[in-house]
Amino acid sequence: MQQSPDISNTLMKKRFRIGEFLAEKVITATAFLSFTFIVLIFVFVFRETLPLFSPPEPVATVEELGEQETYGDLVLTEAEQAAESKEKNKDHVDEGVTVENLAGDRWQPISGKPKYGLLPLIVGSLKVSLIAVLLAAPIGILAALFTAAFAPKWAKEALKPVIEILAGFPSVVIGFFALVVLATYVQDTFGLQYRLNAFVGGVAMSLAVIPLIFTISEDAISAVPKSLTEASLALGATRWQTALKVILPAATPGIFAAVLLGIGRAFGETMIVLMATGNAALTSADPFEPVRTMSATIGAEMAEVVFGETHYHILFLIGSILFLFTFTLNAVAEIFVRQRLMKKFRGD
């Protein structure tokens, strides 16, 4: 868009443009490559979900398959033999899944009659994300407001990078910290029955979400035109009045986007919840009970699931739901920032 002044210049140096031309194409290709990757991941996740809606491949019974060979000269005792045949002669029937099963409130995928109720997982994810964002949003936004509108230059230069470093903190470290230290502290403070619960997970998660909300809010607040601030101050408003009544409302779309992205991050975060929430699939509104989130379920179960079975496809179904949810949130956030914020300051 800003090339127009250079056009005559580039026309003159046409001979030398081949290298530039190639570089440009490489960069373009790289950009589109990431776009392609996202589309491919999208396709992959949905493709793996689809077989769920067709009847599963029948599994042979123990008799049909016959005895497996063994190796080694170990002779089993009677008790061992009994235990082993009991374990091995259990027929494993993959009956697929019904909608009623998916809508149930029990998650017991490894079971004689597997129960794939998604309700506790969705409730779990929402509960933890909500707690995390309720804690992180005020802290992140206020910190951003301070940094952008009040802080002296040296404080701003110190605060911004430090908080942003927190965003790059490995979530497994935050999760471990929550598991070992934070959980005990929270339990002792509130006298809780369960040491690991949604609240502990939410608090730990807020550590991961705060930097995200902070960074985007800070950008939004900094982007508020100086003229607005100056006009407000010139009219006799104090700095606090200016910040609260002029800057903050002007930055609202951006802050809203920040919160939405924060929810998206909290929803998809796996390691922290896997370690800190106890992973019990309970459907309750009590924030101090253990929960099992969708992302933690995928994280925990994917490694061991029998490839191509109903359970495997269900995990991808959960993945699709997560994908759609975060995708929608990000899209809404993007539209808010792009259209509302930009229009507000440029369009009028």
Partner: protein
């Protein structure tokens, strides 16, 4: 420094130049340390063989065997019919099972918990949610907080099938990612109970287990697990596609030999005999 790099290069290239035999081993996280010890020692004695060991879980290992990306798969549970069927489909062989070691599943409680022994039936009732208070099994008046492994673990499946008689775990049961996390959680929860390999049990107290009301209470010691008197014992398996031959046969024979089995004890599991 130059010499260091030279040695490093030598180390990197020697196996690929001289070793004709590379054996890949993948599977159970429970067995990964044991498998690594075996591999290290065997490679020291047989420099012409390279053994690569990775974890990932029993299911991951079996999938890798089915997909042909590993030679040997470690598993802390037997193969399921669905998996055997897939293997047969692909290689027209049901696979060969090798029992390599025994493991006792210990029940842990907090150090200060007064409960010293439980019957298998009581354990089942506790984990299925029929017994919810420590008072009911001779402890103090407090709610029992259940800790379990994640359902991706071979231990979870074994415990469910053999202790819970295939009934479902109580929904309030908290699933911990890995035995280390579970042990940590129980060590900080005075009302907690958990289970896992005897190899991991440190910093918390094991409960003695009785097969039934009249049976003697057994601790998960080497003696009791080896003799089969401890009621909750299982095998640790290796699976291969077909009857082992060549370098692989030598390796597996060595694992089953006295020398290989002595390593099992050092890692904290129990030899077959």
């Amino acid at each position: 420094m130059k010499r260091f790099i030279a040695t490093l290069l030598l180390f990197t290239f020697t196996p690929s130049l001289f070793a004709a035999d590379v054996i890949t081993v993948k599977g159970s996280d429970t067995m990964v340390i044991l498998a690594q010890r075996w591999a290290e020692l065997y490679m020291k004695k047989n420099p012409n063989v390279t053994i690569q060991v990775t974890g990932g879980g029993s299911g991951t290992g079996i999938s890798a065997l089915i997909n042909g990306t590993t030679d040997i798969c470690n598993a802390s549970r037997p193969m399921k019919p669905g998996e055997k069927q897939k293997l047969k489909h692909r290689f027209s062989s049901l696979g060969v099972e090798i029992k390599t070691a025994k493991d006792g599943i210990a029940l842990y409680v907090h150090e200060k918990n007064p409960v010293k022994e439980l019957t298998v039936q009581q354990i089942k009732d506790i984990y299925t949610g029929k017994i919810t208070n420590w008072k009911q099994v001779g402890g103090s008046d407090a709610r029992i907080i259940l800790y379990s492994r994640e359902n991706n673990s071979g231990t979870y499946v074994y415990f469910k099938e053999n202790v819970l008689d295939d009934e479902d775990y109580a929904p309030s049961c908290q699933n911990m990612p890995g035995t280390a996390a579970l042990v940590n959680a129980v060590s900080k929860d005075p009302n907690g109970i958990g289970y896992g390999g005897a190899a991991y049990a440190k910093g918390i107290r094991d409960v003695a287990v009785k097969a039934d009301e009249g049976a003697p209470a057994m601790m998960p010691t080497a003696e009791n697990v080896k003799s089969g008197q401890y009621p909750i014992t299982r095998f640790l398996y290796m699976y291969v596609k077909s009857k082992p031959t060549g370098a692989m046969k030598e390796y597996i024979d060595w694992i089953l030999s006295e020398e290989g089995q002595s390593i099992v004890t050092k890692v904290g599991y129990f030899p077959l005999r």
